[in-house]
């Protein structure tokens, strides 16, 4: 039998959360607190990036491009416990990767947060008498990549959202899989009173369509994001609506219900998510899995490009003043990283970087406009291949040695080449882009060659505060 009174009113968590907020605010006032936005679509490598970043910051080894490490000032880092949110399960992911048979972390299903305290000796001899050690608190959040696509909905109405969804559903490669839902949505009488069965069938068809787009077609522009990955809203009525063709709204009708649910979804879920987690970023890394996009084909490549442009409009770029840093921070440094760079030979990194630069040019416009010049790199958070040279038909080729996803042992592959420019229609032939996925290698403490350019990313993102 449950007790009549429960003394656990969540007071501990409330007080703890308040203490966390105060610590953050004071850190921001003293300019030693940074919120890092790890942005990326589904399966772009956010969780592995965060795990490897934290591992290397704690380990302090093999980071030659981090100035504080190079100058022997770097002292180390440790995790700070947080009270009010789900904590990023770093230890578990690290443990999974630090095995003789390591495993990739499972796809992220919910939001989690991590706070890291980083310490380095002050390089400035003048101020070091007052402050011999510099401390930086770094906040990172991990979340399902699908949720990012919700951010553009903040400025939408039910009408504009519906129009965009219909026009997208009528363009390839979505046309085929959207038929059932489209037919259903067009056939119903929007002004009829609410019939729960019709509502359930319509929203189920819409959810199936979105899930097929995401899981079978591998597309990125999936709106609303919680329909495919509901997190804590699983089973909620808020997720039972679909876009509808333009029509006049009658009170008590299906359209009125769907419009209300959309408004609630936008205001209660998306806006809150944005307010709580996405408003306060100072630095940003955008991870893009270019290789999977090239594998998937022209339509998917364009779809990712569109998704990135939509997402990046939701972030505020520019330089922050002291007051701005406290209450309305802006992203002052943005880094675009082509993740999984270890899946191609190092000789292809220049082309990978160049291709990403071309791909994100439209998306990065808003940052450029605010005077933030985005940097682009080819990065691998966890390196799982070695480079091997071979001769093939008289040509020297750089190949990779690694364990392909599902394989038992390591083999040698020529992974293919990256086009240095945006591929034209004739470049998308059937077997040109077939980049392999690899199993992880063990993430060791004090290990060498465990990443590609993670140190350069760290230096760019937080190096100035160390």
């Amino acid at each position: 039998m449950p007790p009549l009174f429960s003394w656990d009113l969540g007071l501990g968590r409330l007080v703890g959360g308040l203490a966390d907020d105060i610590a953050e605010l004071s850190g921001r006032a003293l300019d030693n607190h940074l919120n890092l936005a790890v942005t990326g679509l589904r399966r772009s490598g956010k969780t592995v990036f965060i795990t490897s970043l934290v591992h290397h910051l704690i380990d302090g080894h093999n980071l030659p491009f981090v100035a504080a490490v190079h100058e022997d000032r770097y002292m180390g880092a440790r995790e700070i416990p947080l009270h009010d949110t789900r904590v990023f399960p770093y230890r578990q992911f690290h443990h999974d990767l630090d095995q003789t048979e390591p495993n990739w972390p499972a796809a992220t299903e919910t939001l989690s947060r991590l706070r890291l305290l980083i310490r380095a000796r002050n390089p400035n001899r003048l101020t070091s008498t007052i402050q011999p050690i510099r401390e930086l608190t770094l906040d990172i959040i991990d979340y399902p990549g699908e949720w990012l696509l919700d951010l553009p909905l903040i400025d939408e109405t039910f009408q504009s959202f519906s129009e965009a969804a219909f026009s997208l559903a009528q363009t390839p490669p979505r046309t085929g899989v959207a038929q059932e839902w489209l037919a259903m949505a067009r056939s119903i009488d929007q002004s009829s009173p609410v019939d729960t069965e019709v509502v359930a069938r319509l929203s189920a068809a819409f959810t199936t369509y979105l899930k097929t787009c995401q899981r079978e077609l591998g597309l990125s522009v999936i709106q609303p994001g919680r329909f495919t990955n509901p997190g804590e809203h699983a089973g909620s009525e808020l997720l039972h609506f679909t876009p509808l063709p333009a029509a006049a709204e009658v009170p008590g009708s299906i359209r009125a219900l769907f419009r209300r649910r959309f408004d609630l979804y936008r205001d209660e879920i998306v806006k809150r998510f944005y307010q709580d987690h996405f408003r306060r970023f100072d630095r940003q890394i955008v991870l893009v899995d270019l290789l999977s996009n090239l594998n998937a084909g022209a339509a998917y490549f364009a779809d990712t490009q569109l998704a990135l442009s939509m997402i990046l409009k939701s972030f505020r770029y520019g330089s922050s003043s002291w007051l701005g840093r406290l209450f309305r921070p802006r992203i002052g440094r943005a880094l675009f990283a082509a993740s999984k760079a270890d899946h191609v030979a190092p000789s292809q990194h220049a082309a990978l970087k160049q291709l990403l630069e071309l791909m994100i040019r439209p998306a990065a416009r808003s940052a450029r406009l605010e005077g933030v010049r985005p940097e682009v790199i080819a990065l691998a958070s966890l390196r799982c291949t070695d480079v091997v040279k071979t001769t093939h038909q008289g040509q020297t080729l750089s190949c990779l040695k690694g364990r392909r996803l599902g394989d038992k042992e390591e083999k040698i592959f020529f992974p293919g080449e990256i086009p240095p420019e945006l591929p034209e229609a004739e470049d998308w032939t059937e077997d040109r882009f077939r980049f392999y996925q690899f199993e992880p290698r063990r993430l060791r403490t004090h290990g060498d060659n465990q990443h590609i350019r993670l140190d350069q990313a760290i230096e760019f993102l937080i190096g100035d505060k160390l």
């Binding site: 070695d386 293919g416 086009p419 032939t429």
Partner: protein
Amino acid sequence: MAGEPKNKPSWIKPFELDAATANFEVERPAPAAPDDHEHQALAAELVVEGKRRGLFWRRLGSLGLAAAFAAIGVDTVSRLQDQIATDPMIGIPMAILLGIVAISALGLLAHELLQLRRLSRRAWLRAEGLRLVGSDLQGDSRPLISQVNAGLPSAAPILATQRTFERQDNDVLADGERLRLYERVVIEPVDRLAYRLVLESSRDIGVLTALAPYGLLDGLFVLWRTTILMRQIARLYGVAPSTATTLSLLRRCLRNSAIAGLADVASHALLEQAGASLVTLLSAKAGQGAGNALLAARLGLEAIKECRPLPFVATKQPSLGQLRKAILSDERAANILLQDDEELVRTKR
């Protein structure tokens, strides 16, 4: 195949290699490329050519000088012949003696020319470094680095930094990244030591100019101390400090100071003017000392630029302003400029 281009594709399909039959090797640091002397000499000329002015007059002067030496040679030989003819007892030993002198002079000349060539090779290395430093490609940085390594002195601390670099080097780094890493790990400690030498020498010059009783004495002292500084810096960066290299270095530094110094002087003119006149009010000699010290510092900075095998990219060269602060007895500024490298300092002395 759908969408197959009509032309033969310029790309290779991804494939798996058969481990039993394929011929492959694991990527390791590439061995140093053989010295391509012709290419290097050409590039060095190209680099220097832009700066050369008055080539015609220089050639004319060299021709005149060569003619004068030839005339002296011919005259000496004919005199010797006369001497041998009239008095072989004196003439033959004299001929042998002059022969020895001539051979050693030629040897010395060859040695000096070789050292000069080494100094001008630095310009080629720097130009090559500058070309690669922004490169995202691979393959050219390792040969260049092994050439730079070969040109540095083989002192224990430098060998240690070279080993650190080899440990941190990675087969995925692009040329630009590898060069920046090398500059920070290997060259930066040498720079710090060179700044220390510059600082010490300018302090010596400043103090002694202020103390020396005669004007002529300061002049001689400044010349002597600056020459020592040039030789020290050259040795530090692995350029043998022969007379010709020292003179050439001094000449290049004076020329560069005259050109590059203008901007520096312009930006600091007001400050210098106010500071110098204030010091002059206290003592004319002290003012002169400060001026000489700054001149020596600028020459030292120029010598570092000339001897350094790579351009300044990942690390910044201190400005004259920073050095001035350090010279004019701001101990803390000096410490910022020169982090402690006691071990390296001890080894190099």
